[in-house]
């Protein structure tokens, strides 16, 4: 079952951000080698209020066969980094919106057994006050 972690950070509408996390295997200590040819990571970035995906990031491959793309990097030590672009947080909403990043990670463990984990993190995008 996917778990969601609510991050306390607040992002302004259209503001870019950097998300970073370290991904470990099921033993809780061995990092997932994000540069390994058997590793694939997909991202779905969406609004929690409408479930609409943002910036075409609907199950988007961000690491394919160990090769990172789409504003992501990954290391052999399991460190995943996402440097967003403005379109990832440009919502033009009238109130705070919870945005969710869902990551699906597939890798081989030490015994070459395919494993898949899914997790979510959420944060708040807040609109700028209209000044007239």
């Amino acid at each position: 079952m996917a778990t969601r972690l609510a991050l306390g950070a607040r992002v302004q509408d259209g503001e870019t951000y950097t998300y970073r996390a370290t991904i470990l295997q099921e033993d809780g200590s061995t990092p997932v080698d994000l540069t390994d040819a058997n590793t694939n990571v997909n991202l779905t970035l969406y609004r929690a209020d409408t479930n609409a995906s943002l910036n075409s990031r609907l199950n988007q491959a961000v690491i394919a066969a160990g090769v990172a793309s789409n504003n992501h990097t990954g290391t052999a030590a399991g460190v995943l980094e996402f440097k967003s672009v403005a379109a990832d947080s440009t919502l033009a909403a009238s109130a705070d919106v919870t945005v969710v990043a869902r990551y699906s990670v597939t890798y081989n463990d030490g015994a070459a057994v395919a494993r898949t984990g899914v997790y979510e993190v959420s944060f708040t995008v807040e609109p700028l006050v209209t000044v007239s």
Binding site: T3, A9, R20, A21, I23
Partner: protein
């Protein structure tokens, strides 16, 4: 799978230039004190 050390940072012109939320690994306790564990495929800590 376990995910640790999350951070999300933004940079702006206010005094609070860097915002960061960091989660560290937490211990897992069993109800009866035994060593049985069930590790889900995903665990966000």
């Amino acid at each position: 799978m376990t995910v640790i050390n999350h951070s999300l940072r933004v940079t702006n012109s206010s005094q609070d230039a860097i915002k960061e939320t960091k989660m560290t690994q937490q211990s897992v306790r069993t109800a009866d004190g035994s060593s049985h564990t069930l590790q889900p495929s995903s665990e966000t800590e």
